[in-house]
Structure formats: structure tokens, C-alpha cells
């Protein structure tokens, strides 16, 4: 510490007009860059979020697949469900990251540099989308390696990818609200269990018709179901009906509600200090 070189000036206050200000776009960019960098450096979480989805798919295909009859080869049936499950899993990390930010002092620095809740949350959500896009691509690559085949057109692939991304963004945004609401990363982790669990009571792994009657209502009318239905339909060239629109409505609604909620909760947490 004794080697400290006393900073030489000038720190003289700049003239009013010369005070710079980052644009909202720059602030968003910087926050996204930050979250991507932090995510990339958190090696444990990175490996888990890339490896676990593949492990999940292999587990479904090889451990459960033999016992489940869906009318198609199980790896063909299950891939869309696994993609959505992984999206939920990967997006849930958003809650933990954001909670860590809120508990640390970095958030004070960011706010005192005019970075608002919107940019901070957007940074985490976009970073989550990028991370999940990569893990989804890896899952798909492994799926192809174990025999998944699709004869879908480029347009159908694009549509499926778009819906998956919409789901990822929506779940990440919900996850962000959870991260802002809870006080510890452990609690954040626990609360996002709901998001991880969402694809199970849906058509992800078994046809809804095989479920007990009381749960079918929920399974048919929850966000993961139309997303999975559309992706499966698009990739396997099956009829999709209104599923994509339902899926988009769910994702859009969740995203809007979460965005509004996160801004309110963020402001409340900051002013409570």
C-alpha cells in the first residue's frame, strides 16, 4: 500500500455542458456485456448449465424412454420437451445472479451512475438468453447424435427457434422478478423451482391424456404446453393449430408483467437502501 502514487489532478469539475452522459442504449450494452462476462467467468455455473441439459435429455431418452409409449420414437417425442425444460433450468440462474447483484454494493454504484433497473434487469435477461441459446444448440446437437431427426423446413426451424427464445426470455424475466423479491441467492434458487417444474405437468415428457384427470386442466392451460406443442409440431411437421399464437401470448404476457413488476420492485429495494 505504501507504493500508492497520489493521483495527480486535474479533478477540477467539468463545465456543465461537458458533463458526459451515456445513452440508454450504451447503458444497456454495457450491462449486457457485464452479465455475459460474469456468466462466462462463473465456471461452475457455466459447466452445469451446459452439461446438465444434455444429461437430462440422455436420462429421459435412455432411462425412461423405454417405458414410455408416445406413438413416436421417444427421442423424437422428448427433444422439444427437453429443450423447454433446459430453458427453464438455465433461465432460473437469472434469479440467482440478480439477487447477488442486489445484495452486493455494485447496485448502488450502478444506480449512482444513472443505470436504472431496466438496464440492470435487461443485462441479466439478455445474458440468460445468450447462455440458453448456446445450451439449447448443444442439446440439439447431442439429440441429432443419438438419432433425433427432423425434416422441417428452414422456416419451421426458425419458427421453433423463435418460440424457444421467446420462452427463454419470458422465463428469464419471471426469474428476474424472483431474484429481486427474495433476499438470498439460496432463496432465489428455491423459488425458481416452480419454473423448473413447469414443463413436467405438460406434454413435454408424456402425452397429457395419460395424466390423471385433475391435472389435465392445468397441463393444457399453462405456458409450457403450447410452447412445447408448437416446437414439436414445427420440428416434426405435425399440425400446430393455434399453439404458436397461444405460446406467444403467454410469453409476451409474462414478459410484460415481469418487466413492469421488476421495475417496481427494483425501485422499492433501492429506496429502502
Amino acid at each position: 500500500m505504501s507504493e500508492l502514487v497520489v493521483p495527480a489532478g486535474p479533478y477540477a469539475p467539468p463545465e456543465i455542458a461537458a458533463v458526459p452522459s451515456a445513452s440508454a442504449l450504451t447503458r444497456g450494452q454495457v450491462m449486457i456485456g457485464r452479465c455475459l462476462r460474469l456468466g462466462w467467468r462463473n465456471t461452475d455455473a457455466l459447466i452445469t448449465s451446459l452439461v446438465l441439459p444434455v444429461a437430462l435429455m440422455l436420462m429421459f431418452v435412455y432411462l425412461f424412454g423405454g417405458a414410455i409409449r408416445t406413438g413416436t420414437a421417444y427421442h423424437t417425442y422428448v427433444v422439444p420437451g427437453v429443450l423447454v425444460l433446459c430453458a427453464g433450468y438455465g433461465s432460473a440462474l437469472t434469479a440467482i445472479r440478480l439477487c447477488e447483484d442486489m445484495n452486493g454494493r455494485i447496485v448502488d454504484r450502478l444506480v449512482s451512475m444513472n443505470v436504472g433497473g431496466a438496464a440492470i434487469v435487461a443485462g441479466h435477461v439478455v445474458a440468460s438468453a445468450v447462455r440458453n441459446a448456446v445450451s439449447s444448440a448443444i442439446v440439439l446437437a447431442v439429440a441429432f447424435a443419438i438419432g433425433f431427426r427432423s425434416h422441417a423446413s428452414a422456416g419451421a426451424w426458425l419458427g421453433a427457434a423463435g418460440l424457444l427464445m421467446a420462452f427463454i426470455v419470458a422465463v428469464s424475466a419471471v426469474s428476474a422478478v424472483i431474484g429481486l423479491l427474495v433476499r438470498s441467492p439460496e432463496a432465489a434458487n428455491g423459488c425458481t423451482f416452480v419454473l423448473l417444474f413447469l414443463p413436467y405437468p405438460s406434454s413435454a415428457f408424456v402425452p397429457i391424456a395419460t395424466m390423471p384427470t385433475w391435472i389435465r386442466g392445468f397441463a393444457r392451460h399453462q405456458p409450457a404446453t403450447p410452447v412445447i406443442g408448437s416446437i414439436r409440431g414445427l420440428l416434426l411437421s405435425q399440425p400446430i393449430g393455434s399453439d404458436p399464437w397461444l405460446a406467444l401470448a403467454w410469453c409476451g404476457g409474462l414478459l410484460l408483467a415481469s418487466a413492469a413488476a421488476s421495475l417496481v420492485v427494483f425501485q422499492r429495494r433501492i429506496s429502502r437502501g
Binding site: 502514487v5 493521483p7 477540477a12 467539468p14 458526459p20 448502488d108 454504484r109 444513472n114 429506496s271 437502501g273
Partner: protein, 320 residues
């Protein structure tokens, strides 16, 4: 509003639930000076800083920083100020260089200018060699210096330093002090809170003591000590009974007590007649006082004389 004031607060109030933290706090800090806010834990120092730095909103009262209202011109105030808290506010997983470049970009610098600014500050703060290391690997003192540097990226007019040396060892503290003095010399207004009275004594042009949500004293360190008598007559009593008797006898003139060692501090001007008179007054039989000494009053004595002792034990108080 006077233009030569960097910070001006009038009648600030703030309550958290039922607990009133600030009850009409007013203060004024001239431009280019170092202002130090002292107060026991839980007195509302951090709350005051957060209100002035626009992170929290007061329930009542007004405040202007750098000539601007902290509520109406919140964003503009943020552009002209910076806040360094008692916890290092950088990303541990980013390198020192990345943290500073990020701050530069957020302050509106271009990529190139942000890189240049980061390099300059890393050099100035003796962190050039550690620039490429993640901040989590920095020592406490290095982390605090990086934090200060991050606060300076935007060339603030006013810097809020909330307990910037808490938890640092002496060399680390001295390094921060040098930075503060240097900044003050270059014209930056510094608003400092601290637990270390020595720090206030060394750095501050003005010291305000916050107690019970209001400013109970606001003056230069020298003048504050003068008000407390300028000097202190330290009496070591011969027995517990004498201690109690002298304490009762002197009443409000006592500025300091150490019951375990039977020591009482009394305000005095230090002159021979005054000291002799005082000794005769309290100890006519020359049995009560074992030893005495005349000392310069420390800011600690002033502080203790001005603030009411906290009822809560130290561990349970929290700095709000």
C-alpha cells in the same frame, strides 16, 4: 440558494416504518471543502449520504447538491457526484481494468476514452500491475483503491465517501487519506462519514456531529475542541467512593469518564490558576485525586460529550 455551496440540506426527515432516523437535518458544505459527518452507529449517517447521493428519498425537507435539487434533478446530480460506500462496489469477477472501463462507459466515455481513463487511474492508484487480475483477488486496501478509482472515473464535483476506511489497516487508511487530501486540493468537494475521529480531525475542514437524527454540532475540528474547553484535566481518583463523589460534584462539567480506571475528564483552559482552583474545589482534603494530567482535548471527548450513548449493545445496532 447560494452558489458557493456544494451541498445544502434543509430540514431533512426520514423514517423507516415507526423509526425516525432523521428529524430535521440541515447542513451546508462550501465548494472545495472536506466535510465530515460523525455520529454513533445508527445515527443516520448512511441514510443522509444516500439521500444526498439520490439513492434514497427524504420524507421531508430539501437538499441541493452541486446546485441542483436531489429529487427534481436526480439524474443530473448523479452525473456530478460519486458515491463510495463502506463496502467495495466493484464486480469481483471482473478485472480491475474491466471494472474501470465499465464505469467509464457508463459515465458516457467512448470505448477509447474509457480505456485511457482506466489506464490513467490504475496508474495513479498503484494498481497498474494488478489491472488484469480479477478484483476478487485484491487485498482489502487494493479493493478500496479500485473502488475510489471507479468513483473518480466520471470526474465528480462532489464525492460522497461513506466510511471509506472502515475495516482497513493503518497503511490502507493512510492511502485513502492521501487520496482524499489530494482530491480536496484539486477542488473536489468531499462529504465524508467515518467512525474514526482521528480521520475527521486530519481531513475535515468542518465536522458535524449527528445524533438523534439532527446535527448537534457543526464547526471546524479546532473550534469544536475549543468549545469543549480546549484542554482537558484528567483526574485519576483514589477510590470508587471518591470517583462517585467527584462525578456528582462536577455534574455537567465532566466530558469523559472511565469508571474501570476511576478516571474523569473535566473541561479546562489548562491555566495554572484554573487547574489549581479546580483541584482545590473537588479535593480540599487532598485525598481524592491520586494523579492528574492536563491534555489537549481529543475529538473523541467532544464526540462523547455531544452524543447520547446508545442503549443498544454495539453488535445489535445497525447503520441505517
Amino acid at each position: 440558494m447560494s452558489t458557493d455551496l456544494a451541498i445544502e440540506a434543509t430540514g431533512l426527515t426520514k423514517a423507516f416504518g415507526e423509526t425516525a432516523v432523521l428529524r430535521g437535518l440541515s447542513l451546508a458544505v462550501p465548494r472545495g471543502t472536506v466535510f465530515c459527518l460523525l455520529g454513533p452507529n445508527g445515527a443516520g449517517k448512511t441514510t443522509t449520504v444516500r439521500i444526498l447521493a439520490t439513492l434514497a428519498t427524504a420524507d421531508g425537507g430539501t437538499a441541493r447538491v452541486a446546485g441542483l435539487d436531489v429529487v427534481a434533478a436526480r439524474k443530473e446530480v448523479r452525473r456530478r457526484t460519486s458515491l463510495t460506500g463502506q463496502h467495495v462496489a466493484v464486480d469481483g469477477a471482473q478485472t480491475g481494468d474491466e471494472n474501470l472501463r465499465m464505469a467509464g462507459r457508463l459515465a458516457g466515455l467512448s470505448r477509447k476514452a474509457a480505456r485511457q481513463r482506466a489506464d490513467d487511474l490504475l496508474g495513479q492508484f498503484g494498481l497498474a500491475a494488478a489491472a488484469g487480475r480479477r478484483a476478487v483477488t485484491y487485498s482489502g486496501g487494493m479493493g478500496r483503491r479500485l473502488d475510489l478509482a471507479a468513483g473518480l472515473v466520471s470526474r465528480p464535483e462532489v464525492m460522497f465517501l461513506d466510511e471509506p476506511t472502515t475495516g482497513l489497516d493503518l497503511p490502507g487508511r493512510q492511502a485513502v487519506w492521501r487520496v482524499v487530501s489530494e482530491l480536496a486540493r484539486s477542488g473536489v468537494t468531499i462529504f465524508l462519514t467515518t467512525q474514526y475521529l482521528e480521520e475527521a480531525d486530519q481531513l475535515a475542514d468542518r465536522v458535524a456531529v449527528l445524533d438523534g437524527g439532527v446535527i448537534v454540532a457543526d464547526d471546524s475540528p479546532g473550534a469544536l475542541k475549543q468549545k469543549a474547553g480546549g484542554r482537558e484535566l484528567e483526574l485519576e481518583l483514589a477510590a470508587e467512593s471518591s470517583f462517585a463523589a467527584v462525578l456528582r460534584f462536577l455534574g455537567k462539567r465532566v466530558v469523559r469518564t472511565e469508571p474501570e480506571s476511576l478516571v474523569i475528564g473535566v473541561a479546562t483552559d489548562g491555566s495554572g490558576p484554573a487547574v489549581r482552583g479546580l483541584l482545590d474545589e473537588i479535593d480540599p482534603d487532598r485525598t481524592r485525586v491520586r494523579r492528574f494530567a492536563v491534555r489537549d482535548v481529543s475529538l473523541d471527548a467532544v464526540f462523547l460529550a455531544l452524543t447520547t450513548p446508545s442503549i443498544l449493545p454495539q453488535e445489535e445496532t445497525c447503520d441505517v
